[in-house]
Amino acid sequence: MTEHLAASVLNDLQDDLLPRDKRRDAEQHLEQCESCAAQLANLRALLSVARSLPAELSAPAGSWDEVRARIAHQQTRPLRRRWAISPSLAAAAALALVVASSTVTMLVMRRPEPMTASQPVLLPAAWQASEQGYLTTVEGLLQQLHEQRSQLAPATVATVEQALATIDEAIGEARAALARDPANAALTDLLASNYRQKVELLRRATRLSAS
């Protein structure tokens, strides 16, 4: 059996704040663990308010680590610097058309439109699957945020949209630069950082709007 559920997890479960995958894990544990199930029952008994369940979505865990791992695996020459990962992507030579991700701004208020190839940029093949996974996650989070938007103050929506626009601009610049220089390790890290920021921001916004 896995470790017992932390108090924060039990409370998140009770308060409907757990993402779907974590909730599934927690529920599986609860089916097998009397001690945790009893704690949750206590928690429920204490509660005077029941609140509705918001749908939650989750990002593909570790997908960027997988990209990094794949790139690192393809490395064929010694590293020039200790931290640098030197992807010999030229050897792989496969460049794929990947959709751009800048269709986000204002989507919090409007219904999200399907991501379209509005700004095709050539990116290394190693990125394709993960970027697609990321786009799916972003779309899911935007959809969820759209459904919860009535619970967000207009000022919060404005803050989120402004931050998303800032991140999208950064993603656009980094993607274009990486397409020109696909083996640039620093760019790889910077772009991955931008992507993480976007998913994190959307998750934060959905958590804040879930009561």
């Binding site: 108090a7 924060s8 409370n11 308060d15 704690q39 206590n42 928690l43 204490l46 509660l47 005077s48 308010v49 610097r81 200790r82 931290w83 640098a84 103050a153 000022a155 919060t156 803050t159 989120v160 402004q162 931050a163 800032t166 991140i167 950064a170 610049e173 980094a174 630069a177 020109r180 220089d181 640039n184 620093a186 760019l187 890290d189 910077l190 950082s193 931008n194 993480r196 920021q197 994190e200 921001l201 934060r204 916004a205 958590r207 804040l208 009561s211």
Partner: protein, 295 residues
């Protein structure tokens, strides 16, 4: 503490109370009690005390409802308590104020839209969630998780583990941590005073200033898209540093090493070692400038 009756009425009423005054709740609690405060309030102040109990004192405007989830007064010390504050129907911005006293080892979770959150002396865990306003933490929590949008974050102390995420809120950290991560879109990040082992900072446009000490075998990674990265090293700094910009410049005022042009002639790169070089520092910026200096 105020008379017990009010508390009893609140606790045993199935329907939440209409609060028009000060409300006080106090219960025996375990030293590691888990406490949640959620809802419509403008201020929450959490203070650690040396008693094995949790006390909540709330000043709430008319029409606000406090929904406590706490055990009865004769029950054994509580392992968990929750307080949910619901603002008046159609009410504007929350104005209520909450003061919470907890055993130092407690774990406290708070969430509010626009509020000032202040925490003092908690050595357990803190999970603080906010849209706008400010969060001020003083002390040495074992776990510190902060999520904010506009709200500014200020931490003074030495969290064992900390993660801070903001959209536009500035983040100021005065102290030390063996394991810290700060993520912001546009907020300015400022770190000073203490010693860090693992520290990771990510920003899109926010400026990052690091003016603290990296411990032996420490690892600092800063990624920014367009924010300036300002590294102010102490005289004893012993580290290996790699700085890279894709389009920005690198200014080295630490020693005589000059940056070289980056890949394809764009941006700049600089690697340098100081002392015996036991700590690692990696600075990456897309188009922000990187500045290295001695303080």
């Amino acid at each position: 503490m105020r008379p017990l009756m009010q508390v009893l009425v609140m606790l045993f009423c199935a329907t939440p109370l209409l609060a028009q005054q000060r409300i006080e709740v106090r219960r025996a609690a375990t030293r590691d009690v888990y406490v949640r405060v959620n809802g419509a309030y403008a201020r929450v102040k959490v203070t650690a005390w040396s008693r094995d109990s949790v006390a909540l004192v709330a000043d709430l405007p008319t029409g606000t409802r406090l929904e406590p989830a706490v055990p009865g007064p004769k029950d054994p010390p509580a392992k968990g308590m929750k307080f949910y504050i619901e603002g008046p129907e159609g009410g504007g911005a929350a104005t209520g104020s909450v003061e919470l006293f907890v055993p130092a080892g407690a774990t406290v979770w708070t969430k509010a839209a626009n509020a000032r959150m202040e925490v003092n002396g908690v050595t357990g865990g803190l999970d603080l969630n906010l849209v706008g306003g400010s969060i001020v933490v003083t002390g040495n929590p074992s776990n510190l998780n902060i999520e904010s949008m506009d709200g500014t974050v200020s931490v003074t102390g030495s969290p064992q583990w900390m993660r801070v995420k903001t959209a536009s809120g500035d983040v100021t950290l005065r102290g030390s941590s063996p394991d810290a991560g700060i993520t912001t879109v546009g907020g300015a990040v400022s770190i000073a005073d203490g010693t860090f082992e693992r520290l990771r900072i990510e920003s899109i446009t926010g400026a990052v200033t690091f003016a603290a000490h990296m411990g032996r075998a420490g690892n600092l990674v800063v990624d920014s898209h367009s924010g300036t990265i300002d590294l102010q090293l102490d005289q004893k700094a012993s580290l290996d540093l790699d700085a890279t910009t894709i389009a920005g410049t690198i200014l080295n005022n630490v020693n005589a090493r000059r940056p070289t042009p980056g890949r394809e002639g764009r941006g700049e790169e600089l690697s340098l070692g100081l002392g015996i070089g036991d700590a690692r520092v990696t600075l990456r910026s897309f188009k922000g400038n990187i500045r290295l200096s001695r303080r």
